[in-house]
C-alpha cells in the first residue's frame, strides 16, 4: 500500500483490501534514485570498465600531476648519462648501467625516460581527447542531420564517402602549409601543430560515427515519442536535442571510446611516419618510433610507450563497453 493519497481515488474505500490492491498500480519498490546513481551502479558491475576507469584516471593524473612531482625536463640532454637502463634491470643484471636519477633509464641522448613518458603521455592524451571530441562532434552533427532531415541525407552520405577516400598524409601536409604559420602565431609552435593534428585526425575519422548515428536516428525518428513531441509543438531543434541525442548516446559513447583509441594510434602512426610534432616534443608514438631500432638492447624504450598506448586504448575500450551498458536504460532497468 502506498501512503500517497492520490493513489486511492479510483479504488475508493469500501471493498476488501486485497481487491484494492489487485487493481492498484504497483509502484516501483525502490525509492526513486537519481539517474546518475543508477548509471554508476550499473557501471560498477562491469569489471573491465572499472579497470578502464581506474587506469585512465591513473594515467591522466600521472601525466597531469606527474611532471610536477618528477621535475625533470624531458627535453634536457644529459649525454654522459645516455643509454641508462631502468632501475629494475639491476635485479637480474648487476652490471647494467642504472641509477635512481633515471628510474626508467634514459635514451640515446640521455633524456630521462620517465619524464618523457609523462610529457609524451600529456601530448598523446591531449591529442586523443581533443581529436575524439572534435570527431564526435562532427560525426554526431552530420549523422543527426542526415538521419533527421531526409533531404540532406544523400548529400551528407556522399560527403561521408568523400572523406573516407581522403588520404590523410597529403591532407596533413597541405594543412601544415596553409595553416601552420597563422596557428603558430596564435598558439605557439607546439600549440599550432597540436591544433592541426587534432583537426586533421578529427576530420578524417568522424565518418563511422556519422554512419552509426544516422542509422540510429533513422530508427528513433520513427518511434512514437518523437511524433508525440512534434504533436506538442516541439521544434526540430529541440526534438533533436532533447529526444534524439539522448537516445543515440550509447552508440556515441562507443564511438567515443573507439575514437580516442584511434586518435592516439593515428597520432603515433603520424609520428612513426615522421609527420607530426616538432622533433624534440615527445609523444608516445614518437618515442615508440624512435626506439624501434634499438628494440633488442633497450626493450623498455619500446615497451614503456607501447604498453602505455595499448593499456590506455584498452581501458578506454572497456570504459566504453561499460558505459554503453550503463547508459542503456533497458539494461539498467534489469
Amino acid at each position: 500500500m502506498t501512503n500517497s493519497p492520490q493513489d486511492d481515488v479510483i479504488v475508493a474505500s469500501t471493498a476488501t483490501p486485497t481487491a484494492i490492491e489487485a487493481l492498484q498500480d504497483k509502484e516501483p519498490l525502490a525509492p526513486p534514485s537519481s539517474r546518475s546513481r543508477d548509471i554508476w551502479d550499473q557501471f560498477r558491475k562491469h569489471k573491465g570498465a572499472m579497470f578502464g576507469l581506474w587506469f585512465l584516471t591513473f594515467i591522466t593524473l600521472a601525466v597531469l600531476i606527474g611532471p610536477y612531482i618528477w621535475q625533470v625536463d624531458p627535453q634536457k640532454l644529459d649525454i654522459r648519462n645516455k643509454d641508462m637502463r631502468p632501475i629494475y634491470t639491476a635485479l637480474w643484471d648487476s652490471g647494467a648501467k642504472v641509477g635512481w636519477n633515471k628510474p626508467l633509464g634514459s635514451d640515446q641522448l640521455g633524456r630521462d625516460n620517465l619524464a618523457q613518458i609523462l610529457a609524451g603521455g600529456r601530448a598523446s592524451m591531449a591529442v586523443g581527447w581533443a581529436a575524439m571530441l572534435l570527431s564526435l562532434l562532427i560525426g554526431t552533427a552530420v549523422g543527426v542531420v542526415a538521419g533527421y532531415f531526409r533531404k540532406l541525407d544523400s548529400l551528407l552520405m556522399r560527403t561521408t564517402d568523400l572523406f573516407l577516400a581522403l588520404p590523410i598524409l597529403p591532407l596533413l601536409l597541405l594543412a601544415v602549409t596553409l595553416f601552420r604559420q597563422p596557428l603558430r602565431v596564435a598558439f605557439g609552435p607546439e600549440g599550432g601543430m597540436f591544433v592541426l593534428i587534432v583537426t586533421i585526425i578529427a576530420i578524417t575519422s568522424w565518418m563511422p560515427t556519422a554512419r552509426i548515428v544516422r542509422g540510429d536516428v533513422l530508427a528513433i525518428k520513427e518511434r512514437e515519442f518523437v511524433l508525440a513531441a512534434r504533436s506538442i509543438g516541439t521544434t526540430n531543434g529541440k526534438i533533436i536535442r532533447r529526444h534524439l541525442l539522448p537516445n543515440v548516446l550509447s552508440p556515441i559513447m562507443v564511438s567515443a571510446a573507439l575514437g580516442l583509441a584511434t586518435a592516439i594510434i593515428t597520432e603515433s602512426a603520424l609520428s612513426f611516419l615522421g609527420v607530426g610534432f616538432p622533433s624534440d616534443f615527445p609523444t608516445w608514438g614518437k618515442m615508440l618510433a624512435d626506439a624501434v631500432v634499438r628494440m633488442e638492447r633497450f626493450p623498455e624504450r619500446v615497451l614503456l610507450p607501447g604498453v602505455a598506448i595499448s593499456l590506455t586504448v584498452l581501458s578506454v575500450n572497456y570504459l566504453g563497453d561499460g558505459l554503453r551498458d550503463a547508459l542503456d536504460p533497458r539494461i539498467r532497468g534489469r
Binding site: T14, A15, T16, A22, A228, S231
Partner: protein, 610 residues
C-alpha cells in the same frame, strides 16, 4: 488420442516455483502454482501482465532455463504418449528435445516475431517434422502443406515458399499454430495467441483452435488476459495473481461465482459488449471497490468542435528507375464527420483501415491530400507551419503504446512540462506547479515526478501521456488506441479517468480503437472505417444496436463476449480478406455517399470494397 487412458491428466503442475537470477538479486517469477490439464480439455490461465502465466508455460516446456530462469521447486508431471509418466522438471535437455514440439506443442504470444524472418514458412514448418518424424524433405513438405490446409490458410502452396514478413499477422499466427500442431502433440500450450490480432482474425483463430482441439482431442493450456476470450474457449479456468494461483474452477463457476476478490475485480473491469444497450450516453465503469455512487452519464454539448469534410490522405509508393510515384496507398478516402465539444467520437475498424492516419491527418502530423478540417471554426488545413504549431495547443494526441510514446531518457516531469515550455504558457516556478497539478489530475503521486518511464507500469505511463496532452488545456484530444495495450484492470481505470476529465473539462475526444466493447462504453458517436472510408457513422446506440452496413455487422459478430453462455460458433464467422488499399497513380475513387437510416445515423451506399 481419445483412446488413451481418459482417467489421468496429461499434465500436472505441482507447487511450481520459478526463480530468476538477476543483477538485482533473485526475482520470483512464479511462486506456487498447481493445476492439471486433462485430455481433450482446455484450461485457460488468466491474470494480468506479469502474473507468471508465460513463466509457467515455459517451465512446462523447460524453455525457461534459456531465459535465465530456474525451476526452484515443484513437479511437472507429464504423461508421455507411450504411457509412462515423467517429471519434466527433472528431465534432461536431450530428453526434453524429443518431447518439445513432438508431444507438447507451443504457440507463442507474438506472431510477428515468433517466426524466423530469414527462412521460408515451409522450411520452418518442416524442421520439426523431419526431426521428430524422420521424414524426408519431400514428405515433410507434403505434410506441411496438409497442415497449412488444415489451418485454412488461403493459397497454402504459395505460402510454403514465402517469408514470414510477406504474410499478414493472422496468417502468421496460423503458421505458428500449424507448426505447433505439426507432430500431433498431446498437449498444446497457447500463450496469448490472439492478443496482437484484430477482432475478426482473433475470432477466426479462436474458432480454428477450437475445431482442431475437438478434432484431435489435444489438451490445451490457453493463456490469456482477455476474459472475453476465456469465456469463449475455456473448459476450466485458472486465475493467477502475482505468481500465485488464486482461484480455479470451471468457466461458469468463475464467471458467475468468482470467489477471490482479485477475480471479482478483474471481471468487473472487463467491458462487455452489450452492457450499454439501451443507454444513449456513455458512462464510466463501476469498478470493484469504487463504492456505490452511481456513475454519471456524460452528456457533452451540441456545439461543433471539429468538423471534417472530405478528408483524403494518400501515401505515395515510389518505384522505377527515377523513384517516381508509381502508386498511392489510399489510407484515408473522403472521410467526413463532426465532433461536438465535450463528446467522444470513436473510429473503429480493423488494422490498416486508416484510423490512425485519419487521426494524424486532422492534427496534420501527416499532410492530407485534400479535405477540410475545422477546429472550433478555424480552418486547420489553411494554416502555415508557424500557425499550425500555435494551433496545436488546441489539439493533442495520446498514442497507443505508452512504452514507445515516452522518451526513455527524460524524467517524467520534464516530459509533461515540455509542451508548457514549448509554448511558454507558464514560466519560472509556475511550470512545476502546473506539472504537479497535472500529476494530481491524472491521479499519480507527485513523488513520480522525478522518475523515468521505465520505472512505471503501463497504466501509469499512459496517464503521464494523458497529463502531457492536458498540459496545454486542449479542446480536442485524439486518442489513438490509447487503452489497447493495457491490462483490463488498468484499462478500466484509464478509461474512467479519461471520461472523468471529459466531464470536468469539456474535452472532445476522437477515440480510435479496434476494441468494440471499450468503444461502446465511451462513445457518443461511432464511425466504422473500412479501407479508408467510413462505412457507417452515427450515434453509438444506433450503430451498435442497429448495425446497417454488412461490414459493421460482421465486425460486431466477431467480438467475443465475456460470458461463457454466449459463445460464438465458427459458422457465424464469414470474413473476406481485406483488399489492398494500393492503387496506381491516377486512380480516382468515387465520393462517399451516405444514406441516413435514422437521425444522424448514416450508412455508406457507394462501393466500399467490402
Amino acid at each position: 488420442m481419445l483412446d488413451s487412458t481418459p482417467t489421468g491428466p496429461i499434465a500436472k503442475i505441482e507447487n511450481l516455483r520459478v526463480e530468476f537470477e538477476t543483477k538485482n538479486g533473485t526475482v520470483v517469477g512464479v511462486e506456487d502454482v498447481s493445476f492439471e490439464i486433462g485430455p481433450g480439455e482446455t484450461v485457460c490461465v488468466v491474470g494480468e501482465s506479469g502474473s507468471g502465466k508465460s513463466v509457467s508455460s515455459l517451465s512446462l516446456m523447460r524453455l525457461i532455463e534459456y531465459g535465465g530462469g530456474d525451476i526452484a521447486g515443484g513437479r511437472l508431471i507429464f504423461d508421455r504418449k507411450d504411457g509412462g509418466e515423467i517429471d519434466l522438471a527433472e528431465a534432461d535437455q536431450s530428453l526434453m528435445r524429443t518431447i518439445r514440439g513432438n508431444e507438447i506443442g507451443m504457440i507463442f504470444q507474438e506472431p510477428m516475431t515468433a517466426l524466423n524472418p530469414v527462412f521460408t514458412v515451409g522450411r520452418q514448418l518442416t524442421e520439426g517434422l523431419r526431426i521428430h518424424r524422420g521424414m524426408s524433405k519431400a514428405e515433410a513438405m507434403a505434410e506441411a502443406l496438409k497442415l497449412l490446409k488444415e489451418v485454412r490458410i488461403p493459397e497454402p502452396e504459395r505460402r510454403l515458399h514465402q517469408y514470414p514478413h510477406e504474410l499478414s499477422g493472422g496468417m502468421r499466427q496460423r503458421v505458428v499454430i500449424a507448426m505447433a500442431l505439426a507432430c500431433k502433440p498431446r498437449l498444446l500450450i497457447a500463450d496469448e495467441p490472439t492478443t496482437a490480432l484484430d477482432v475478426t482474425i482473433q475470432a477466426e483463430i479462436l474458432a480454428l483452435m477450437d475445431r482442431l482441439k475437438r478434432e484431435t482431442g489435444t489438451a490445451v493450456m490457453f493463456i490469456t488476459h482477455d476474459m472475453a476470450v476465456v469465456a469463449q474457449m475455456a473448459d476450466r479456468v485458472v486465475v493467477m495473481f502475482r505468481g500465485n494461483k488464486v482461484e480455479e474452477g470451471t468457466v461458469e463457476e468463475i464467471f458467475e461465482r468468482p470467489q477471490h476478490p482479485y477475480t471479482q475485480a478483474l471481471l468487473a473491469a472487463v467491458p462487455k459488449l452489450g452492457e450499454m444497450t439501451g443507454k444513449d450516453l456513455p458512462e464510466p465503469m463501476r469498478l470493484v471497490g469504487q463504492g456505490d455512487h452511481a456513475p454519471e452519464p456524460i452528456k457533452g454539448t451540441d456545439d461543433v468542435l471539429l468538423k471534417v469534410e472530405g478528408l483524403t490522405t494518400r501515401f505515395p509508393v515510389k518505384g522505377g528507375f527515377f523513384r517516381r510515384t508509381v502508386a498511392n496507398v489510399h489510407a484515408v478516402e473522403d472521410v467526413s464527420f463532426t465532433l461536438n465539444k465535450g463528446q467522444t467520437l470513436s473510429l473503429v475498424g480493423e488494422s490498416g483501415c486508416g484510423k490512425s492516419t485519419a487521426g494524424r491527418s486532422i492534427l496534420r502530423l501527416v499532410e492530407p491530400l485534400m479535405g477540410k478540417v475545422e477546429l472550433d471554426g478555424k480552418d486547420v488545413m489553411a494554416l502555415s507551419a508557424a500557425q499550425l504549431r500555435e494551433e496545436r495547443r488546441e489539439m493533442q494526441m495520446i498514442f497507443q503504446d505508452p512504452f514507445a510514446s515516452l522518451n526513455p531518457q527524460l524524467p517524467l516531469a520534464d516530459q509533461v512540462a515540455e509542451p508548457i515550455h514549448n509554448y511558454k504558457t507558464e514560466t519560472g516556478s509556475a511550470v512545476m506547479d502546473k506539472v504537479a497539478n497535472l500529476f494530481d489530475r491524472v491521479e499519480l503521486p507527485r513523488s513520480f515526478m522525478r522518475r523515468f518511464p521505465h520505472e512505471l507500469s503501463g497504466g501509469q505511463r499512459q496517464r503521464i501521456a494523458i497529463a502531457r496532452a492536458l498540459a496545454l488545456n486542449p479542446k480536442l484530444i485524439v486518442a489513438d488506441e490509447a487503452v489497447s495495450a493495457l491490462d483490463v484492470s488498468v484499462q478500466a481505470q484509464v478509461v474512467n479517468l479519461m471520461m472523468e476529465l471529459q466531464a470536468d473539462l469539456g474535452l472532445g475526444y476522437l477515440f480510435i480503437s479496434h476494441d468494440m466493447a471499450v468503444v461502446e462504453r465511451v462513445s457518443h458517436n461511432v464511425g466504422v472505417m473500412y479501407l479508408g472510408r467510413i462505412v457507417e457513422i452515427g450515434p453509438r446506440r444506433a450503430v451498435f444496436e442497429d448495425p446497417q452496413h454488412a461490414y459493421t455487422r460482421a465486425l460486431m459478430k466477431a467480438v467475443p463476449i465475456a460470458d461463457p453462455r454466449r459463445r460464438k460458433s465458427e459458422k457465424d464467422l464469414n470474413f473476406k480478406p481485406i483488399p489492398s488499399p494500393i492503387h496506381p497513380v491516377g486512380y480516382a475513387p468515387g465520393p462517399s455517399e451516405y444514406r441516413e437510416v435514422s437521425p444522424g445515423h448514416f450508412v455508406l451506399v457507394s462501393e466500399s470494397g467490402y
